[in-house]
Amino acid sequence: MKRFHFYRCGSFKSSYREELGLFQTDPGRLCFFAGLFIVFGIIPFAGSSAVLRVVNMIGIYSIAAIGLNILTGYTGVISLGHSAVFGVGAYTAVILTNLFNAPFYVAVPAGGLVSAVAGIGFGLPAVRLMGFYLCFATLACQKIMEFIFTNWKGLTGGAAGISIAETGFSGIGFKSDMILYYIIFALLTVMALMAFNLMRSRFGRALCAIRDDRRVAEAMGIPAFRYKLLSFAVGSFYAGIAGALFSYFSLTISPGDFNVSFSVILIAMIIIGGMGSIPGSILGAVVVVLLKEASAFGDRILLDMFEMPFSVSSLYEFAAGLLIVMFIIFKPKGITGAWSDIRAAFRSWPFSQVFNNGFK
């Protein structure tokens, strides 16, 4: 009978492979598989169609948030241009479907690849620079992309946006939310695992080194320029895939969907969930989407009861901004940080205070 490790009361690892393992304890593995079962087996059948739509949105935003976490959480690049790259993926998918009748398994990866190229384009002027200048460069690229989305009418349909054609769903017929759900979450699982593996490989360690101290990383032989550019490419690939899926989810896209506010909301997701942590991105996406749904719900209530002309749903932006500020002030590591603090407190009980305060 296999020896189960339920909590870390010492180090029982006997190889490097175990050290790098995905889960440190067996309950972790159990939870993971239970979670997979719930996600794939239970939710699609238990929820109503509205719930499915919300969960689909969570899935799409999670993929984008993972990409942004690779950029911001692991590499330390504050990117305000992520929603533009997301938009590039969305427009690519729609254009390929409308013009070339591409099926979805061509359009979605193509969206990711084109976005990766766009991300490299964003990165080229940006990665040479330090901290906040880089931020301005991504902001400029975001605004330039917004301009292209709105004004290249022949390709993108201008400010009114374009819709995806029927042929995108051919062969699978997934205009239903359920099949889209399976596609999104299969992709999410694969890409989250991919990102996690990438981040504990040499590449991920290089990115963390660059984030922590760029000069020291360069002195150790990590070419910061190349790795930052690669991180832009990978992060944008994720955003592009998410964008392509988004275009299937919301059948019409328009430039107003991909503005600076959306970029900031993506940043909110990773700050709330925890920067530098893949499950954190997913958590953050969950919180933000739930916030959005709650504010839409409040909107309906206000409309029914008081008939106010105010649109409460825009308070969702306000709430997201407030959450960003609150989390940075009180819990800069996000929900995952708070959770690992709690776990550490339990583990080192009754000496929790010592370990929480870091041996001060």
Partner: protein, 284 residues
């Protein structure tokens, strides 16, 4: 030919307003090494409140102006107390995130309150009398700001703090008060520039949505840490934007400042007046 003159005048007028906001941004950077990404949004907020107030019946321009400054000042005060104070000793990256958060909060507040459909002022290429007033007022405020930063003792303190913060502290300068003061001044400058922008050219709602990042090209062009750079950068960006757009906010005019920003960041990221910046204290 008169068309070009008109465009130039409009550009200088817009440029003065950008310069005002940019000087506020630079002031904040000098005093606290803070990049306040929400600064443009404060400008948009000033414009928004002004438009809201002047749409209500029975408000003259002056009253709306003063009320806007009052309300805006109150919002800035709340933000400073609640969010900026607790973060004073923290590093730059978290400061940027907080300012991003404040940006989103202000944006959310602005889209929460519906703006009454404003009569859109026809944006021709001629200067109306109100345009001249805006130009003069803009130049007036810019000059005041410049003179204050060069000649007054507060300006001296601020330059000292930006040169070497620790030395300034050890010499007994009231850093916290200075920072609060510079936050107030910078915020008011942004508010005033937003109000003037709204008063002069009849913005509509979509302009408000894109206004929040317009000042960053001006700041970077001039160079962070230099007031004169901010003025020059603002004027240049204003003129170039109007000339590119043909009128105040054509689509190409919206794009041009960002193209310039990218080019500046590639070629000379420190900006025009770059020797004034002390970059040694900034961690990458």
């Amino acid at each position: 030919m008169t068309d070009l003159y008109m465009l130039l005048l409009k550009g200088i007028s817009l440029g003065c307003l950008y310069a005002l906001s940019a000087m506020g941004f630079v002031l904040l950077f000098k005093t606290g090494r803070i990049i306040n990404l929400a600064h443009g949004q404060v400008m948009a907020m000033g414009a928004f409140i002004f438009l809201l107030l002047s749409a209500l019946p029975g408000n003259t321009v002056i009253v709306a102006f003063l009320l806007t400054v009052l309300i805006g000042f109150f919002v800035l005060f709340v933000i400073e107390r609640l969010f900026v104070r607790p973060l004073a000793p923290v590093n730059m990256k978290q400061g940027i995130f907080v300012s991003i958060g404040i940006l989103l909060m202000l944006k959310g507040l602005m889209s929460f309150i519906p703006l009454p459909p404003a009569e859109q002022v026809s944006a021709g290429t001629s200067i109306s009398s109100s345009g001249i007033i805006i130009l003069v007022t803009g130049i007036f405020f810019v000059l005041i700001f410049l003179i204050l930063s060069r000649r007054s003792s507060l300006g001296l303190y601020i330059r000292a703090v930006s040169d070497n913060r620790k030395a300034a502290i050890s010499l007994g300068m009231p850093i916290k008060r200075l920072f609060t003061f510079s936050w107030a001044v910078a915020g008011t400058a942004a508010l005033i520039s937003g109000i003037l922008m709204a008063a002069g050219s009849g913005l509509n709602a979509s302009d408000l949505g894109t206004m929040e990042s317009k000042i960053f090209p001006a700041v970077i062009l001039g160079g962070l840490g230099s007031m004169r750079g901010a003025v020059l950068g603002g004027l240049l960006i204003g003129v170039l934007e109007v000339c590119a757009g043909g009128r105040l906010s054509g689509p190409l005019g919206d794009l041009f400042p960002y193209l310039i920003l990218v080019m500046i960041l590639i070629a000379r990221p420190n900006g025009l007046f770059s020797d004034k910046i002390d970059l040694a204290g900034i961690k990458e």
